[in-house]
């Protein structure tokens, strides 16, 4: 890469972020202005232009909360309340994170299992794979509320139902990526294992599995993001008990727009952290396996 980090990364991304925040402020002004004007007319006050702009930035239930309102809400609910309190965003993010991770672990395990089955059994590829692909064209999340209700009826509540929706969403990218990865060794290398009289197990663990590692990490990045979406949607029909999804639903019931935006940003931060940590593990594993930096 010529140009370097500052010129090709920091400057463009930084200025884009700046433009976004500015556009957000402008949008907040124009979206909140009609309501504020209406309010001012009712209470018979006529503020100056700058005062009016200020008013649109500090409404209690704005149509578009201004960035600093969201930031303030985030700060208050993240750092000033106790982590165990129900007002704390950390608490809600933690609830969502736990079912995300459980679902992600189960989904990854299931996906790898299916991939190994498909690679070693042709009948599974022909009969099972088309249906897995078809199952992904249907909106899985539409099934989410029903799964929650069904599982609640047979006394499975709490973490597991939400995690199962995450599993549902995350096994597919892993399965497809791993099928590709396990098949990625070249014919020459497969022939070589035969020349060395390697057993099936040895071929699998010493050739196919290491060859699939790059594919594995690419697909689990998609899978962990999908898991988070699954966990958030899974929290919607549980009657808004806890988690990012329930914060969103409660916010939309009571028109607490600032809360919605704060929950949304908290969810995004969790997503970014998850994808980032997967990337970190990927780099560690690949270095340990002797990849060039």
């Amino acid at each position: 890469m010529n140009g370097g980090f500052v010129k090709d990364r920091l400057l463009p991304v930084g200025s884009a972020m700046l433009v976004l925040v500015m556009a957000w402020y402008v949008a907040a002004y124009f979206m909140n202005a009609p309501f504020q004007r209406d309010q001012n007319e009712r209470s018979n006050v006529s503020p100056g232009a700058w005062e009016f702009v200020g008013q649109t930035m500090y409404q209690p239930k704005p149509t578009v909360p201004a960035p600093h309102q969201v930031a303030e809400n985030l700060w208050k609910n993240t750092f000033t309340v106790k982590v165990t309190s129900r007002r704390s965003l950390v608490y809600h993010a933690g609830v969502t994170l736990s079912s995300t991770l459980l679902g992600f672990a189960m989904g990854t395990f299931l996906g790898v299992l299916i991939a190994v089955g498909i690679v070693y059994m042709p009948v599974l590829e022909k009969s099972f794979l088309p249906w897995i692909i078809a199952s992904q064209t249907i909106p899985m999340l539409a099934v989410a509320p029903m799964i929650i209700v069904i599982l609640a009826a047979i006394n499975v509540t709490g973490l597991l139902p939400k995690a199962m929706i995450s599993t549902y969403l995350s096994f597919f990218p892993v399965a497809v990526g791993m099928v590709k990865g396990l098949r990625s060794p070249e014919v020459m290398h497969l022939d070589l294992t035969r020349t060395w009289n390697a057993s099936g197990m040895q071929t699998f663990f010493k050739l196919r599995l290491p060859a699939s590692v790059p594919f594995f990490f690419t697909s689990i990045k998609v899978a962990i993001a999908a898991s988070l979406v699954g966990a958030i949607v899974g929290e919607l029909p549980t009657g808004a008990v806890a988690g990012i999804g329930s914060k969103l639903l409660a916010g939309s019931y009571y028109s607490q727009t600032i809360d919605i935006w704060a929950a949304l940003i908290a969810g995004s931060v969790v997503a970014a952290l998850l994808v980032f940590s997967v990337g970190l593990v990927e780099r560690l594993v690949r270095t340990a396996m002797g990849a060039r930096a």
């Binding site: 990364r9 064209t137 539409a142 509320p145 993001a225 988070l228 958030i232 969810g267 994808v275």
Partner: protein
Amino acid sequence: MSGAQTAISPGIPGADATIMALGAASLVGAVFALSAAGSPGMASPVLAAALVSWLAACWLNARLSAWKIADGSRARLRDFAVAAIFGLYILFLWEVAVAVFGIPFVLLPPPSAIGARIMGSLPILAADFNQTVLKAVLIGFVGGSGAGFLVAVIADRYRFLSNALLPIGNLVSALPIIGIAPIMVIWFGFDWQSKAAVVMVMTFFPMLVNTLAGLKAAGRHELDLMQTYAGSHRQTLGKLRLPAAMPFVFNALKINSTLAMIGAIVAEFFGTPVVGMGFRISTEVGRMNLDMVWAEIAVAALTGSVFYGVLALIERKVTFWHPSYRRG
């Protein structure tokens, strides 16, 4: 197809006989299991018949998929048959399991009841389909994908812009965008406009990221050739780089087809007029009318599959030159 072609020609001696026998065995077992499934005291014979039938079908599938068929179209027919047998057996085992183990209707209705419900409530399903798919999904999908494509083509012209948008787009693609649904409902109201807006935002970023990546996919040699011909930016774009980006664009369209359905249905959980697939699912779950929920899911599944299939078909026509479609 002529008669000689439809008959399965035996590649292996005796393959026909085995396949016929296995097919007959599984069919007989299935018919018996289905006809006796409801009657009391028949649980274990029904289960045994279902098991035998299922094992026969598994063996049949293994036999069929191990069969080497040289002819391309007949091999495709075989692949389709194997997948169809598997799918039918899922439905069959589901039906038998519900009857034999007495699974309550509110937990898991049998496929036959779902089929009956679909037939019985076609007008409601059609109205929901119209509201959710024809309005929210299609408009949002076209708007979001189109905007993503346009922004990518413009951003590609300016290095600074594409450097700014690519990392942001990659990040946003990983975010739970579905969470903006309540915000969109506040902005655009309960009707389909808010759902279309959610779909638009959800489909925008995958298209942006994929198109930006695709526009970089044209080969060095071809680009040099365009320069040799003194091709302008516009000509290079239209004749080389956009066609080369098409596999990426279609990849994004396929991802977006699923995202659009999910976005529209989930957005309806946050508030909607009294019509729409997401609305129906959430209210009928509340009233424990699980057969209606499954009927909606079946419609959604069918819609999603057709949507995906149509895109795959267009892709095949547009990117016929791509290695994955070339035979040889």
